[in-house]
Symmetry: C2
């Protein structure tokens, strides 16, 4: 549905005209209640519309929204036609001034000064008694608004022209979709998204914190969050080892020379922390990416075709100076740790390597149940000078990537101008709970940096040649990936990555020691286990474990102690299972080993009987 | 033996006087060969002595050292007494000028100007025909030099007063010890130390590299070195988990406020990278230590006595701007990663926690076979204003640490003035192969920072109290620890941390596929295995594996393939063992699981039969 908003001319589509018309209808209804209100702007926006009013000391409040909605429904019933007209500046100013619409007067003057008024004069739209200076387009008439498709949402303050030195206005937001069903769906998704907001859950589940003395955008991972990082990292480490990667570990700072050579300086300087100047002239930078720190180890020894493909991996710490306003929880931060790797290979190997990498992406996202991703092939824009390297090389490397994905029968869209400056890239686009698309990770084919860093290998024929470089980071940064995982799972992590894997709840004090001993045994096997022996009632302790979304509750009573068993209760699964202790321990081992996604209800525990 | 050099007045001891006397005896012998040589300085130094000469275009070379040594031995035989005398400046200048000793003239004038000449005038020592301006002390006579206790070592260039704008002199180094046996011992140890120098082995075994474009003191860990880091880190992670630690992960940068609060700024600024200034006034620093980044997560939630001890661990990346001249391989670097943790506990818990930590240190060092460490208790100096907090708190916390170590029957020395500015510390002092002592890691008891960061916990009585903080880093930084391990093991790492754990050597091409399949199986179980199927001869391939100090060589021939076995050859162990494949795989698993120190010859493989 949101997809349809991405058409070439967004104004042409129904949803745009609907939302725009509803903004007028709302203003019309508001003026019925507050005839003296002055109108400011009232545009359609993502998910609906708003209008800004100056109520001159007598504002509407949340309690009035129902009445406004009622009046809007009446106006809709009246099927008032939207009619376009034009007025000269003089006419327009006279009309607006006589209506005391001072904000509109200011804007009309500005439009004329900027030469934005058309030859016909300023554009107005009228429906019934309501007239607004506006470019349109609108619905044919108010009756076109589908039944039940909108809802007034909330009231907030906003400054005229966003300028805090100008008057404070009252903004009324409305939600609007093509149908009642779409509206309902959105409201439900928004509720879920708010419940699952990674900042909210991050706090409730004690995953990370921020601190003003440390600085904004610099998350500190609490023990619970650090567990998730470590588990993802361990997974990546094993998969990469089996796939023939070798790990390196490199510093997060460098002299400026390195990034001058890569071309990131000065090109990328705006997104970097400023330099540290030592010995008066030597500048050190925090790295915004790891790439050149892998080119160096590649280049530190002579390489032959026998060493290739040479795959270097590192969960690398990087720092980017993102604008304060664009920081958002873990999604956009200033310190991040990336599941990075660079594959150096011969031209003959590049397809096979690229395919293996795309396969690894697919494996990760399917395993994590984030199957609902879109693949985007980002190409260079021949009309832009952002892209270095010649056209033939661009076309050749773009063809390589395209063919690999076609052969793998992967659905993908192509987008011009979205490539990295040194080569085409594949973007994994994931939708969040509100349906908004984010790039979670990317993979680039680079035919430029080997030249810049003078990287080579001696081929079978004795000649020194340039390798291709594939940049890949399937698990993204910890920060971004975990922000998605928190929201997708609603904080209910599978056992293998859950901060606390098993909460034991002894029914009474008589079985407490037994539970403690069992917990100790599991901890020696590196399972994260706690025993809740607090003074709370049994039911309260169970509820606490559920509230904290702990994947496994092991209930221990007299019967369990007697026959060396536990009663296993999974998060959000009603049935309980009585299992022998040894068998339960073994099942946990299997779940960890297989990184089982037991947070999905359809997954059965590996317990026999 | 070096121990004796650490006495209160080093000049009083025999070794100092011996080395000093030998410097004179060498100069005397050199003057016999080059009567026109001008003398500069000739002090005793660690391991021996040197003298700087200006040979005025006719220098002695390495080939002349034997002749100098012969003449020195003759002088020693002559038992020439060392006699002290004094001369007024005038007398001295006249004598030195007439001997054309221009460097001595300059120094004599300087001594007088600085008021360093005594009331009696300038001090001289004479033996036989040789006289030198010198404060002494010396041996009674040259005959006191023990037989065979010295050896002229090498010749190098050096500038007069270390100033590259002054004349270049020739420095002749000699080694000297109390006995011939000590000299022999030192020379052998030095040979070993040079063979095992971690910079040399780091290069040969491809463990790390440095790069000028990245910057000095910023090691890039190559795949082989990254394996060792990862294995140490995994070990620490498991031990810490079992000991009740929780991990955090925090950024390596912060606003200046954090270090102003801790007191590190401006106190520690000289050892830090300069700040990055953003938005004109906001300064960000790279962290030189992790402590405040753990205080913040502690403080992010309310803590009660039930949460304590609260143990936060992190292998934390830190950056220190060490002086260029003091950088040394991995031993002293500018980017390091520390096995850090902070334990927050009540006063009642502090002894038990401190004891558990010291126990963990002991476990690590014993397991790594670095048992030969000295423990130093570093106390505050009541006469210094470096130490914050009041005297009672210092004495109380020092007493806690002292008592814990006495109860554990740990031998330790106490040293005043070596404490951290916020509390007493325990230093683990390890001797390197040359017998030089280095601090490998420290542990601090801190009663100051909880106050500075306003950290508290609610006690059982409802009152808010300050926790004690114990800072600990038993495995030091990766950089420092691995520099020691490389040298101690001479690059022959135990299987669990070896970059390559098993090298398979197929006897011929017929068994190659069998070897490859076996290697694949082991790799799926995350073992680091390679098959050497190169064109080299069988013996050459075995030698290559030995040269690279690979702990296990599995030889595979027709017989082995037939009965599904391998022939196991350990590094530096002569006996070979024929073992079934399944049994061999299981033995490797046990070695990894137990982190077996199979690089020590006395360790038997866990293979039955």
């Amino acid at each position: 549905m949101e997809q349809s908003e991405q058409q070439a001319d967004p104004k042409a589509n129904f949803l745009y005209r609907l939302r725009h018309s509803l903004a007028h209808i709302m203003a019309q209804a508001v003026l019925e209640l507050r005839p003296d209100a002055k109108l400011a702007f009232g545009p359609p926006v993502e998910f609906g519309f708003y209008y800004d009013f100056d109520f001159q000391g007598n504002p509407l409040g949340e309690n009035d929204l129902q009445e406004v909605e009622n009046r809007m429904r009446r106006i809709i019933k009246e099927k008032q036609p939207f009619e376009s007209s034009h007025q000269s500046l003089e006419e327009a100013l006279r009309a607006l001034e006589s209506a005391s619409q001072t904000y509109k007067v200011e804007y009309a003057q500005e439009l004329v000064e900027l030469g934005k008024a058309g030859e016909e004069g300023l554009s107005f739209y009228t429906n019934g008694p309501f007239i607004d200076m506006c470019e349109g387009p609108h619905l044919e008439h108010t009756g076109e608004v589908p039944k039940g498709c909108f809802k007034l949402d909330r009231i907030s303050g906003s400054y005229w022209r966003g300028d805090e030195k100008r008057p404070m206005l009252t903004r009324i937001y409305g939600l609007a979709f093509e149908s009642k069903a779409d509206l309902k769906d959105y409201i439900e998704r928004r509720k879920l998204a708010m419940e699952r907001d990674h900042r909210k859950l991050g706090d409730e589940l004690d995953l990370f914190c921020m601190d003003q003395e440390v600085g904004v955008g610099l998350p500190l991972w609490m023990p619970n969050g650090a567990v998730i990082r470590d588990e993802l990292e361990q997974w990546a480490r094993e998969e990469e080892f089996k796939a023939g990667y070798q790990r390196v570990s490199t510093p997060a700072i460098t002299r400026s020379k390195l990034f001058e050579r890569s071309g990131h300086l000065p090109y990328y300087a705006d997104s970097m922390y400023p330099p540290m100047t030592v010995d008066e002239t030597d500048e050190y930078y925090l790295r915004p990416m790891n790439c050149p720190f892998h080119h160096k180890p590649y280049d530190a020894r002579p390489r032959s075709y026998r060493d290739l493909p040479f795959r270097l991996a590192e969960y690398g710490n990087t720092y980017r100076y993102e604008k304060h306003g664009s920081l958002a929880g873990l999604l956009r931060v200033r310190a991040m740790c990336m599941n990075d790797a660079h594959v150096y290979c011969t031209p003959e190997q590049v397809e096979q390597e690229f395919q293996a990498i795309i396969d690894m992406y697919r494996m990760y996202y399917n395993h994590l149940r984030m199957g609902n991703f879109r693949v985007r092939l980002s190409l260079h824009d021949p009309d832009s000078d952002k892209f270095i390297g010649n056209k033939e090389e661009w076309l050749r490397s773009e063809a390589i990537v395209r063919e690999v994905m076609q052969r793998m029968e992967i659905d993908f869209d192509e987008e011009s101008g979205e490539a990295a400056f040194y080569g085409p890239k594949v973007d994994i686009q994931v939708k969040n709970l509100l349906g908004r698309e984010e790039t979670v990770s990317t993979c680039q084919l680079d035919f430029v940096m080997a030249e810049r860093f003078d990287l080579g290998y001696v081929d079978a024929d004795g000649a020194r040649k340039r390798p291709f470089i594939i940049h890949r980071a399937p698990l993204s940064t910890h920060e971004r990936m975990i922000s998605f995982l928190i929201e997708f799972y609603g904080g209910a992590f599978p056992t293998w990555m859950a901060p606390l894997q098993v909460m034991m709840v002894p029914v009474n004090d008589q079985v407490r020691e037994y539970a403690e001993n069992l917990a100790h045994t599991l901890r020696q096997d590196l399972f994260r286990v706690e025993v809740d022996s607090s003074d709370e009632s049994f039911n309260k302790r169970i509820r606490n474990a559920v509230t904290h979304k702990i994947p496994n509750i092991w209930i221990i009573g007299a019967k369990e102690m007697e026959n060396a068993s536990i009663t296993w209760r999974r998060y959000c699964v009603k049935e309980q299972l009585n299992v022998g202790v040894a068998q339960a321990h073994e099942a946990l081992r299997k779940m960890r080993q297989a990184r089982m996604m037991d947070n999905f209800e359809d997954v059965a525990l590996p317990v026999e009987g």
